[in-house]
Structures are given as structure tokens and as C-alpha cells.
């Protein structure tokens, strides 16, 4: 590994590599996010600590003083004020970043709608953590998926490298379509796990991400009012535009990640597939770090002659429906692994996948099986995927209700509680 400047005491890797070409350093997912925000030349950061996000802003507190551009690092009193202040800074045309998790994200909810409604390209990292009550520190996707309808694009990362790249890509696409981006990474399995990450050079990022120049801003030389009460017809038209433009995020992301691939050799597609062959009986749909486990599980299952394939979906909003229909064409069974629930209905990914396929003719529609696992940090292992794939293969029709993986007979995990 190439040498970096003297490592700081905390070992956050928050020092700039001496060599300007990309060099790998061993950092956590959270540190990778901080590097992404630093390399994107973020101008205003405003955040509030929450486990397991805190190390992102700690790393930024160490990185930002090395910035050779003017910036402000705001340590506000709540996540609500973090987002409120970024709405202000972004309106003033400063590139703005924050990070949060769980309860903090929920506290921001009102302002998530505000940021997208105001068409501000704020980028936020959310470290997926389960939400209370009861208290839980570990990972699931309930916090971010509960923000489904806030008008934010959502990108789920599977590695620390993806998290770093996603921050830079998100700024580029957000500033192109004038909408905010949430990049999402799993608590602990990604946020606090160190791996080798290639740090792009500032030159590479400069080429990829030009300075933020919005068409409208709070400008004393051209005074305008923003956010004032319109007539219902205008309001409705503005809301329609929000949807139209958020949908543009998918193609914008596709081309941005292609340029990123040209520049760095690493792409970050909205939808990634593995082992989707003619013989594939069941395709697993997974997101986040679980996608990596599913990848290993598919290898094992293929060795055991189970005809499984995998789709890792990185982009949750806008939902890549047509891309999914394309890559999954001809696969008879799809099983969706959910780590969040729309209580009283079904798993949140399951719901989106089902609606994506409903437009197909009935005989072309795959059978869609929904499974819940990994809530509140319940470990998702290679075995978990095997159990649910076997479960789906053994049934010609999906269960009417979402299946909780701990209810599957072969699975002993979580059994004690389920019995009670």
C-alpha cells in the first residue's frame, strides 16, 4: 500500500495521500463517505451526531481543514436544523452536504420534502439503522425507505468504495436535475468496517464534477422570492415537474456512472445483475451490503445446482422499473429480500417490485415472493439466502403474505422470539 501522510491519532485515514494518482487506503465506509464529500469540494457541511453516522462528521472535521477552498462546517443542535441550514446554504448556491441515520433522518422528514420541493441538490449520507421503539443500534432499511415519498433520489451502497464514489456521482446528478440525493449505507457492516478503498485524485474529481452554478439563487443583485404560496394549479404543475425531473435521475445516473467508469475504471450502475441465465429459476433481489452476501450465496447455490441469480438494486428512487423488467425478462420467480416494512401491508421493496411488473401481461409476469429478514441487525448470511431460495423453489405460488425468514422451518434464527 502506498504511503500516506502521517496517520492521525484516531487512525481515520483523514490525511491526503502524498501521491496524487489514485491510491488505496484502508478506511471504513463512513470515512469513505467523508472522503467523497471532501473530494467533491463541499462548501457547507451541517450535521448532528448520531450513532452510527457520527464518524462521518468526525472524519470531515479532520478532512475539511485541509480544504484549499472556502467552506463552513456547522455543528448544529439537531438533524432538523442540519437540513434547515443546508436548505439555506444551498439556496445561496453553496454545495451542501450532511449525514445522518435512523431517528435523525426521521426528525428531518419535513425538511426532506422541503429540500426536494425547493429543488435543492443537497447530498446526504444516511447510515441505515433501525428505528425505535424499542431502541436499536443495528442495521435495517426502515429509516431510509420510510422516506420513499419525499422526492429524494436514493442510492444503496454495498461497499465502502461504492459509498465514496456515490457521493461524488450524487453531487453531479443532483446538480444536473436539481434534486437532492440520499446515499445509503448499512450500519456497522459498512459504516464501521474497514476495507481497501481507492481515493480518486482531486484532478479526476475536478474533471468529473464542475463547480455548482444554479440558474436561480438568493442573489441580492437579482432579488427573487422563493417558496411563496402559489395558486393550486401552479402548485400542481410544480409537483408534476418534481416527478418528471426525479425520473430523469435514472438516465442521468447511468451516463454519469459511465463517465466515472471511463475516468476511474469503476462504474456504479443503478441495477447490477449476476447469474441471470436462461436456466435461472429464481432471481434474488437485494440491496445494500446484503447484496454482497447474496452474491456469495448465489455462487454456493450454483455449486449445489440451485438455479439462482441475483439483481442488486442500487437505485430505489427513482425506481428503475423498466430496467428491472428488462434484466428479469423470462425469469419465472423473483424473490425480494426486504429489510423494512410498510406496516399493515408488505415489504417496501416487494411492493415496488410488484408494481414494476404489474404492467406486464399476466402470463408474462414473474411470480414475486417477498421475504423479510435482517431487521434491526439480524445477521443475513449465505444460509439465509439458501433457505429463502429453497422456500421459493418449493412453492409454485407465493404466499399471500410477506414471509418472515425466521418463520421458515429450516431457519432457527429468531425462533425463540417468534414462538412467544
Amino acid at each position: 500500500m502506498p504511503k500516506t501522510d502521517e496517520q492521525d491519532k484516531k487512525g481515520t485515514g483523514a490525511t491526503f495521500p502524498k501521491k496524487m494518482e489514485p491510491v488505496p487506503i484502508v478506511i471504513t465506509g463512513n470515512q469513505a463517505v467523508a472522503w467523497g464529500a471532501f473530494l467533491a469540494k463541499t462548501q457547507v457541511i451541517s450535521a448532528y451526531p448520531i450513532t452510527p453516522q457520527t464518524t462521518i462528521i468526525e472524519a470531515l472535521a479532520e478532512l475539511m481543514p485541509k480544504a484549499d477552498w472556502p467552506y463552513r462546517f456547522m455543528t448544529v443542535e439537531s438533524e432538523h436544523s442540519a437540513m434547515a441550514s443546508l436548505i439555506g446554504s444551498s439556496m445561496a448556491a453553496a454545495r451542501s452536504f450532511t449525514a445522518t441515520s435512523s431517528q435523525g433522518l426521521l426528525l428531518m422528514h419535513e425538511l426532506l420534502h422541503w429540500a426536494s420541493g425547493a429543488r435543492l441538490p443537497i447530498v446526504m449520507a444516511n447510515v441505515n439503522r433501525a428505528i425505535a421503539a424499542p431502541w436499536c443500534l443495528w442495521s435495517d432499511q426502515q429509516d431510509s425507505l420510510s422516506q420513499r415519498d419525499t422526492g429524494w433520489a436514493q442510492i444503496y451502497c454495498a461497499t465502502a468504495q461504492e459509498a465514496l464514489d456515490a457521493v461524488i456521482l450524487s453531487f453531479r446528478v443532483a446538480e444536473e436535475i436539481h434534486l437532492p440525493f440520499m446515499i445509503v449505507l448499512d450500519a456497522f457492516t459498512l459504516s464501521h468496517t474497514a476495507e481497501a478503498v481507492l481515493i480518486p485524485s482531486p484532478e479526476q474529481v475536478r474533471e468529473f464534477l464542475p463547480p455548482y452554478k444554479p440558474p436561480f439563487k438568493l442573489d441580492v443583485n437579482e432579488p427573487r422570492a422563493f417558496g411563496g404560496l402559489p395558486k393550486p394549479e401552479f402548485y400542481e404543475a410544480v409537483r408534476q415537474r418534481l416527478d418528471r425531473d426525479l425520473k430523469k435521475a435514472e438516465s442521468a445516473w447511468t451516463s454519469a456512472q459511465a463517465s466515472w467508469r471511463d475516468l476511474t475504471g469503476r462504474g456504479l450502475e443503478a441495477v447490477e445483475t449476476y447469474c441471470l441465465e436462461k436456466d435461472t429459476e429464481v432471481a434474488i433481489i437485494a440491496s445494500g451490503a446484503a447484496g454482497q452476501t447474496a452474491h456469495a450465496a448465489v455462487d454456493r447455490m450454483r455449486e449445489a445446482s440451485l438455479k439462482a441469480g441475483l439483481v442488486i438494486v442500487r437505485m430505489f428512487r427513482p425506481f428503475p422499473s423498466s430496467r428491472l423488467r428488462e434484466v428479469l425478462a423470462g425469469i419465472p420467480k423473483i424473490e425480494v429480500v426486504d429489510r423494512a416494512f410498510s406496516w399493515g401491508h408488505k415489504g417496501i421493496w416487494t411492493e415496488s417490485i410488484q408494481s414494476a411488473f404489474y404492467s406486464l401481461k399476466e402470463d408474462e409476469r414473474p411470480k414475486i415472493y417477498g421475504y423479510i429478514t435482517g431487521m434491526g441487525g439480524v445477521d443475513i448470511t449465505v444460509k439465509t439466502f439458501e433457505w429463502i431460495v429453497r422456500h421459493a423453489i418449493s412453492r409454485s405460488e407465493p404466499e399471500p403474505e410477506t414471509v418472515w425468514a425466521h418463520d421458515i422451518k429450516e431457519n432457527t434464527r429468531g425462533k425463540v422470539l417468534a414462538k412467544k
Binding site: 457547507v44 439537531s78 436544523s81 436548505i87 439555506g88 446554504s89 432579488p223 422563493f226
Partner: protein, 301 residues
Amino acid sequence: MAKFLPKNKTLEELERPGIYPGHLACAGCGATPATQMIREIFGKNCIFVVPAGCYTIIDGAWPYSSSGVPFLHCAFETAAATASGIKAGLNALGQNDTQVVAIAGDGGTFDIGFQALSAAAERNEDIFYFCYDNEAYMNTGIQRSSATPLYAATTTTPAQTPKLQPKKDMGFVMAGHRVPYFATATLAFHEDLKEKIKKAKEIKGFRMIHYFSSCPTGWKADSRHMVALTRLAVESRVFPLYEIFHGERWVINQNPPQTPVEKYFELQGRYKHLSPEQKAVIQKEADKNWQRLTKLAAGFN
């Protein structure tokens, strides 16, 4: 996004620096003359941030705006946080001399926006926070706030069960934050108000004016009595005019001969139900507060 100015005329050409005619304030509203003064004194190089409240409506519905400076509507509880963020953005862009002015009512200041206000004050953000306090949630139809005075009637504390708590003392709260500048002001003492806005413009760091803002609608009073009422509020010592520098130096600005609080109540429907005993309690409160204030103004030596 609304363009303010008719293409052929600028504010300067109209020779009327300030807010435009056509704003939507009630007759007798205290907020607009004060905002007019802020515009005159702060000039073009400032940005207004306004949370939910009367001023959301007063400025004008899209695509109109009567303020003549960049105007950002923000969520109810976020005025101080949003203003801080705008300032941070301006700093990052090198536009350090642009002033950011938050204009919020008592609900957005004393209640729902209090957390963000306290935090921005503690961080000593370089913003000017102007609170037009009309002593209740007037924009939603006169509900009690923590700035509503003792025994006043509102729609949620009607005359038969009036508010039983005294008004939150914002001066003390802000003194506790050691902000560089805090002042109370009101329309009847407009020269005093003007001087305070000028001071607020020159001082760096967190500045706040707590402006006692007349409201004929909410006070159930005639709009022609509004200036008289704000004068009576000061004379009766219900709303004394003072300044606090860095939470330490207290200065009383007006010390007119004392008028009984009863005089102040007479012109307002919101106090119509007061019993002689209740009036006596309020009189005692006002006297006690004044005493406390004079002691603070005498200094700590």
C-alpha cells in the same frame, strides 16, 4: 420564483427604499412599518428569511413579493437555522458583507422555532433576528403562544378560561445566551426602533430585536389605536424598551411617567373580561418586572 421589480423601474428609481405597496398586511399591523424600516436601513445587500406566520402572507402570494430583496420562505421552526445556513453559504462563496435577516412572529420565535433560535444564538451566528411579537398565533386565528400575556383571551384561552401563565421573558432568555445585541422596540417609539435597527446592522454576530407588534385583529382593537396602544404598553411598563449587550450590560431606553396598566387594557377586547383582582395581579407583575429591570440596568457592581 418571482421577479420583484417592474422591468422599467428599480427601487432606487422609485426613490422609495422599502417594501412595496400591495403587501397583504391588515390595516394597523405593526410588522410592515418595522420591515419598511429594516429595508431602509439595511438597503439592498440583505436577504430576508421568513418562516410560517403573518409575514408569509404579508409579503405576497406567488409570483408577487413586496420586499424588494431576496426572500426565502422557510419551515415554521427553522428561521434561525435557515438564516444561519444562508450566512454559511454566503461565507463559502465569499459574499461576507451580505446581511441575513430572519423575520419571524412570536410563534416561530418563542415556541416552535425556539430550539433553532437558541442554538443559533449560542453559536453566535452572524445574523439579524427580528421577531414581530403580536402576542399570539394571529395568522392561524389568534391562538395562545408562550408570548401571550397573563389573562389575555385568545381562541384557545377564551375569556372564561384565559391564559394563566405570564409571557415568556425573551430578554432574559437571550441574555443567558450572551448574544452581542438584544433589544426590545415598538412602533410608537419609532426613533428608538430606528436607532436599534441601525445598531443591529453594524454589530457582528447574533443580533435580535424583540419588536412589540400591534395587531388589531388579534387584540380585538381598533386599528386607529395601534400606535397609542404600543405607546401605552411602554408607558404602563407592560413592554419596557431596553437593550442588552453581550448578556451583561442592560440599558433602559425609555422611562416615561408610569401609566396604570388599566389604561392599556381599556382599548383591547382581549382584556375585556379582566376582573379588578386580575388587573391588580398584572399591575403587580409589571411593577416587579420593572424593578428587576432597573436593578439590572444599574449594573452588577
